[in-house]
Assembly symmetry: C2
Homo-oligomer: 155 residues x 2
Amino acid sequence: MRNRKDHDPDCCCRRIRGDGRRMTPPRHAVLDALSERGEHLTAEEVFKKASRRCPNIGLATVYRTLELLTGLGLVSKFDTGDDKARYEFADPAGEKGHHHHLVCSGCGKIVDYKDFIGEEMELLHKTEQGLSKKYGFKIKSHIIQFFGLCPDCGR
Amino acid sequence: MRNRKDHDPDCCCRRIRGDGRRMTPPRHAVLDALSERGEHLTAEEVFKKASRRCPNIGLATVYRTLELLTGLGLVSKFDTGDDKARYEFADPAGEKGHHHHLVCSGCGKIVDYKDFIGEEMELLHKTEQGLSKKYGFKIKSHIIQFFGLCPDCGR
DNA sequence: TGTACTATTGAGAATAGTTCTCATTAAGTA
DNA sequence: TACTTAATGAGAACTATTCTCAATAGTACA
């Protein structure tokens, strides 16, 4: 599991290089920092990791790059309630790789689960359609997250 | 719908007065500010409303009171992605009044819906049990939210 | 391969929501 | 009514994030 690259670097580069955008060492470093599966890094953590490959990268660049990647749909940004945004590579659309998060309110540990994803996705889809019809919203995304105490924190 | 008090003031006061805590004018003012159903106020908005009843209430007191009420489970705190916490009276546990949120990414409008709550709650419950068993978490709460564009923002 | 255009960068200042500090006030109790 | 100490208001402090701006360096094209 460790060190398994979870994204296709070529694909990301291709997406980044679009509309006149450029591929740069700092952007490579950020992609690299994010590439470990199962990580849920804060901007600060991405900054630290990226600094290894690109020693004088600036924090602002990390934020800018994460914003870019999020905008392109390559990365998803989420929040587990500790007032720090977290980032991970987005699950390829509509794929079986989709997952949700289970968060420990004690230590902040984040568990990726896909155990009930089938049913959850089905219901979410149905709900989206229903809400869309009733309230006229064009639904783009959802958040579903569980909070509790992990075995270590649960006493 | 307007001005309908959605919480039982006596119950709240009783809960606040516990463990040596005291009932004070600022706390009344915050309860009052929150009392309108269907509102999703930021701390700043609670502050403004509460200031009408308690003109020299401080913003810090509003935050402290909201934290207290949240801790007591009387109020729930959530976030619609604009980096400002929002607060509303908590739905009485296990009651049919429970609702979720549909958020417009354009204008920030928040729609409370309960249309699919039955099924959602059932699945959430089942998922909670499954996750609890598999990962050993004691699950306390969940977040489920949909994002999209409302009729006005959807062009 | 060299040059020009301009997207991107790093550094630090600026911003905004929230929390903390501390001297003062006042709720609840006896 | 007096006492204990929880709660308060004001503003400073904190923290994640965004902005500013001059300097740098991808990329396209000659």
